[in-house]
Symmetry: C2
Subunit: 363 residues, 2 copies
């Protein structure tokens, strides 16, 4: 499961289900009309639809097309046809400059390169600068799976997370995604923000009129708060753990690791050097299992491992035990069959954008 | 800082300070007498003294020499002069069989090999089976620093950590250590268990007659408990985060990643296949910064980054902001100058072992 908490199978009240392939066609037409090549438009659509299929709707078609991707392309803040190139390269590694292209396009290029290098040498490491918001990190990590590789993807982001004991944000929610192939069972697929919760979770509490969890956020002075309004206003999330006693220093450590590999190994920068406006840095790795173990043996052992985890007897009144990737796999099966649930406002917004761009919306 | 919480500079009440080089000599003589080569005895002493210098005393000379390392060597459960060999190897990767040698010797060999490979190809990955308890993971990660590399070290361990919602332990405390070089500032040095706290923290609460933190451990049925006695008896620690609301699924995900890379990429195994008795698996990586960035630029930017973090104004009444590695660096400076604090019982135990082995103890 991801911290963005893969949605369950039920269609949320008021939402409409749209067939994923129909939706994909709409998204491709939108990005073609915004100036991307057909290939790149398909890449962006793939990254967005994959996020929706996995249940990570915050990084699917609903939020950022209208808020970010379309206006940035229209204003020329994003390069529609970027010249993505390697600044430094060896058989195992590359530093890529994304020429300020769409994050999904740059990230897909970079992860493909990491996989290609891993095929040749066992391991591929690609760091990226000159890129933008790339959606769900998990989408890129899982590209490694069909190649019998372990995939890793990270990105840094706008400063929204305080260091432990601090009163100002220094890190992004800095997601870390790791995907590992299995044989018969759903692949292991961790996609986690290194903050306790993402900002979206604070917004949900605010809308629901509910208090925040005690380790989620601070007020503007850096004091932990459970007041949703105060937490949303301050935009100071706590690192995973939330307090020293619950390991918040570890969450801070992981947030810094993501900044270091995404921002400093790439030269994209950290702190106020990165933002949705200024661009961000990414890091990708692919590790070929064959370099260390027989692939079939490894995948069989992965099945045994995840089955043993899932078979753990639950505590009294607790939900069944699962592992990262189970909810995503269930959600994917449901949404492939039943369509992707979208709020009517989102559909109206996308239809409006289609009209503006002079392309068909198919519902 | 590490989850084992680097000790502060003050000498604990009743403890005696022993010069680190004098202590090193004692430890070398002990392991030589237990059958290790002089080189391997020096390697073990280095790993133990480094842990003590960093303030990770639980993995220094105090606990496991008497409890584990000496008796295992004396009973032949640990191979004193192991034939460590590569089972599978390429320019970037190796799978090492440690021949059931001391974890510190096998791990040092493996990390050195990862560094050697990274010098040649930019990145080195070494997975290890047939090894034993290796002490503090951070000791091996930080071997990368003097080579201007990022170091990673993990190990799996006895089942002590429940999956979220589960009633039985499935994972070890599975530490993850990552070290990153800086220029002038203390290096970034994260060494964290993927459980909220290690078992030692539960023991401390038990001894102090204090309740546990709410996300630390469960009772034998898997229900969260703050009763130290119950928590210690059950030996069911919670993954980092502790509950779903505080991101416990992320802690579980990280614990599984460590098991996967340490146990399944190596063939050492996971779950009940690994234990202090049966041996464990490790994973090491070294990444050459030069492969992606100019080293001096990177290290200067690391300095800027960690300075900005430390300069974050603290919340009202909060401790100053630090980052992983700051407490360790302070502790190291203090202990190099003032000696390593040891409880008189530990000194008596080690003196007794020396007498038994017919070697000098120098105090």
């Amino acid at each position: 499961m991801t911290e963005r908490q893969a949605e369950t199978e039920a269609t949320p009240v008021g939402f409409v289900r749209l067939d994923s392939e129909t939706l994909r066609g709409n998204v491709i037409r939108i990005f073609e009309a915004l100036g991307l090549t057909s290939k790149d438009a398909a890449t962006v659509a793939h990254a967005l639809i994959e996020a929706d299929l996995m249940g990570v709707s915050t990084h699917g078609v609903s939020n950022y097309i209208l808020l970010l991707y379309a206006p940035f392309l229209q204003k020329g803040m994003t390069t529609a046809t970027p010249n993505i190139k390697a600044v430094r390269e060896s058989p195992t590694m590359a530093l890529i400059d994304g020429d300020n292209g769409m994050g999904h396009v740059v990230a897909t290029h970079a992860m493909q390169l990491a996989i290609k290098k891993a095929k040749a040498t066992g391991i591929g490491i690609v760091s990226v600068r000159g890129s933008q918001h790339f959606g769900a990190a998990g989408v890129y990590a899982k590209m490694a799976l069909e190649h019998d590789m372990i995939g890793v993807a990270t990105t840094n982001a706008d400063q929204l997370v305080v260091p432990l004991h601090g009163s100002e944000s220094r890190f992004g929610t800095n997601p870390l995604a790791i995907a590992v192939p299995t044989d018969q069972e759903p692949p292991f697929h961790l996609d986690m923000a290194t903050s306790t919760v993402p900002l979206g979770r604070i917004m949900l509490s605010l809308r629901a009129g509910e208090p925040l969890g005690p380790g989620w956020a601070t007020d503007e002075a850096g004091r932990p708060t459970i007041d949703a309004e105060e937490g949303y206003r301050a935009k100071r999330l706590l690192p995973l753990g939330g307090s020293f006693d619950l390991g918040g220093h570890k969450g801070q450590g992981l947030a810094m690791v993501v900044d270091i590999v995404s921002g400093l190994l790439s030269g994209a920068g950290v702190l106020d050097q990165v933002s949705v406006d200024r661009g961000v840095g990414h890091f990708f790795a692919a590790l070929s299992i064959e370099g260390l173990r027989d692939v079939d043996e490894f995948k069989t052992e992965m099945d045994h491992f995840v089955r043993a985890v899932v078979a753990t007897p639950p505590a009294p009144d607790a939900e069944p035990v699962i592992y990262a990737g189970v909810k995503e796999a269930r959600c994917r099966a449901d949404r492939l069959a039943q369509g992707i649930p979208l709020h009517p406002d989102v559909i109206a917004g996308l239809e409006g954008l289609c009209k503006e761009l002079g392309v068909d919306w198919r519902g």
